[in-house]
Subunit: 405 residues, 2 copies
């Protein structure tokens, strides 16, 4: 469809926090355009402006209508995108901005957490064909039936960028952010952490789901589904960043170590151990919008069992409410919650072909006298729940043994 | 169509500058709703937020694209309207907000100065029928052909409110502002100025066009065309305000005294006095977007004449450029501009039936040793251009003789 390569570039809030940083962003865009590419740009709201709007709303209501919150928050990207177009025009580059609705981004109707259903992108394509740099609002869309404006929730602008790249058949999607890419561990904790140059979609999905915050799982999923290479790199230097794609040169047994200290462990004691009990417990939690992560069901004793799981700390009130009802309904022996936990995970596509990775992980933790509370695995990930106080020590040891070696 | 009265209320930027003032506004709305009315609300952007957005754009470009400026500025009303809906919901009133586009407000395509062409208002009507307080973004609309977002320019939110009232067949349109209504003269200059309780559309149009800043002429024109009574009143007290309507009880010879000190006088000397010369002069000025106000053509001498007119001071550079070209093209003898002028006007429907009002005005100015430079009249208005330094003295004398008497 396009004679030259089409590249989608996305710039997040910290990259567009003021007119000065908009100029930096414009230089990145122009460099790409001058390199002989067509460029479509996706932007977030400026800096902390979304948080400021949320604060204003919360001054007026503790439970603002999600529909009105979307109307409110979708104003943020308009400001960034029009200012950026104005600046590019001023530098002599033809450019215009489009809202999610104008770009034909249709979503489900769930306000604040909508999912992209389709991108028609008519006006984007028309703009590209006319030689324009087209700027699209991230994080927002419109529901086709109700014509209501929706927002996509956390990581929404990344999702917009990758989905747009997929729908435009772009060569790649570049996600510009305030870090240099995806690291083998959190560089704030592990000084030796190295930038990952290449990573597969599957590995990146596991990294994102288990604590790496630089990319959200939903945008990686889009990339995988439509095979769009995603590059994560810094707005503020010229590093190569991390490329996320289908097939990569070097397979690693362990690509990275991730952690999550924003979850709690909840337990329901002495539940009758009968068929369907798990459904009775996790059904109501799921209906309550609670994101249950790891689950452990103890060995049954006297036809009773204990069920433990982890869930986000900021949902603990809701969890305890559901659990207390369940405890009554199921005639259980009580509930408990434990804030003092963290999860460490190792991720690598190479572990599929390698035996003994899990036992090596357990023995490293054991050598460091770290107690393992819960374990969960996927073909390319092993996660352990450990005491929160031991988290940094665990990451260090795992990074040292699996990666720095 | 509606069992109860439908009232459109409009709140300007100073009325919605922060969460506290939004609460005051909500009380006005609820009072109206509890009075048994259906209420549709039109809001402007919060306080100085529009100016702040303009400043941001001007940091990036001296000549920002009008299309992108509209995208940028239309974000402002979204913030106000959604916050207001959130607050009303919190107080137990069903309410939702609509953008200009969602409310079906279609306009001409002239960015920054679009005119409303039609208001379908489907979603507004639906909301009212379901008992909602519907909040609509002022100042903005969408062009039907291009689907581009437009803004209406100065006084645009008032125009939205009155046009919406007309299209919904509302009983009246209430314009809430930071003053108590329309006064017989500017109360900052004339302490004795009185609130005008009732005024006709025609008088209000002349007041607005000749300097009264509380209502813009365009919204009064809408009111007149569709016979929608407009009430101008304060957000911050419970005064009755000023009602603008077709027929009023008490006819006044002079309803008010207005002034305008934001214009300059421009002169083209020694133009050949031939048929069509005025068109040759004012054609190019009009094409240049210059708002020419009063015009005086001197008596011809040796087949040459001088043409003087007033135009806004902030357009003086453009005017002088056009005039200098004209002076060459028409072989004129030169140009001049005079900043030291002001215009004072008296307005009243009663002067149509009363003779000698103009001569009384001239003699009052003469008694006060104020030199009259130019004169223009309509059936219900007389305006004189005088030296700027004499303006306040002139307003005082005219108010004293025509109104306080």
């Amino acid at each position: 469809m396009f004679q030259v390569s089409l590249i989608v570039q996305k710039f997040g809030g910290t990259s567009v926090s003021n007119p000065e940083s908009l100029k930096t962003v414009a230089n990145k865009i122009i460099e790409c355009k001058e390199g002989g590419n067509e460029v479509v740009v996706v932007v977030s709201a400026m800096g902390s402006s979304t948080d400021e709007l949320i604060d204003l709303a919360e001054e007026l209501s503790e439970t603002p209508s999600p529909r009105e919150m979307d109307m409110l928050l979708s104003a943020g990207e308009r400001i960034t995108m029009s200012l950026l177009a104005i600046h590019l025009n001023n530098l002599g580059y033809e450019s215009f901005s489009l809202t999610g609705s104008q770009a034909g981004i249709t979503t489900t109707s769930r306000h604040g957490m909508a999912e992209i259903e389709n991108i028609s992108g008519e006006r984007v394509k028309e703009g590209i064909e006319n030689g324009n740099i087209v700027i699209v609002a991230g994080f927002q869309g419109v529901n086709k039936e109700t014509r209501e404006i929706t927002t996509l929730g956390r990581g929404g602008s990344d999702a917009t960028a990758v989905a747009l790249a997929a729908s435009l058949d772009a060569e790649r999607c570049e996600i510009y952010t305030d870090v240099e890419g995806v690291f083998t561990a959190d560089p704030r904790i592990i000084k030796e952490a190295k930038l990952i140059e290449e990573i597969t979609y599957d590995e990146m999905l596991e990294m994102a789901s288990s604590g790496a915050r630089v990319l959200m799982a939903r945008s990686v999923e889009f990339g995988r589904r439509y095979n769009v290479p995603i590059i994560v790199k810094s707005t503020f230097n010229n590093g190569e960043g991390t490329i996320v794609k289908e097939k990569i040169m070097e397979e690693a047994i362990v690509r990275g170590v991730t952690h999550n200290d924003k979850e709690m462990k909840f337990t329901l004691f002495g539940v009758p151990d009968q068929p369907g009990i798990a459904g009775k417990v996790f059904g109501p939690l799921s209906e309550g919008g609670i994101i249950v992560d790891m689950i452990v069901q103890n060995v049954s004793k006297d036809s009773k069992t204990d069920i433990s799981f982890t869930a986000p700390t900021d949902q603990s009130e809701e969890v305890m409410e559901v659990l207390s009802n369940l405890s009554n309904d199921l005639n259980a022996e009580g509930t408990d919650s434990d804030e003092n936990i963290a999860r460490v995970s190792i991720i690598g596509a190479g572990m599929k072909a390698e035996s003994g990775v899990a036992s090596k992980m357990f023995s490293i933790l054991g050598k460091n006298k770290i107690n393992i509370g819960m374990i969960s695995t996927s073909p390319i990930r092993i996660s352990c729940v450990i005491p929160k106080n031991d988290m940094n020590k665990a990451i260090e040891a795992l990074h040292e043994e699996f990666i720095s070696e």
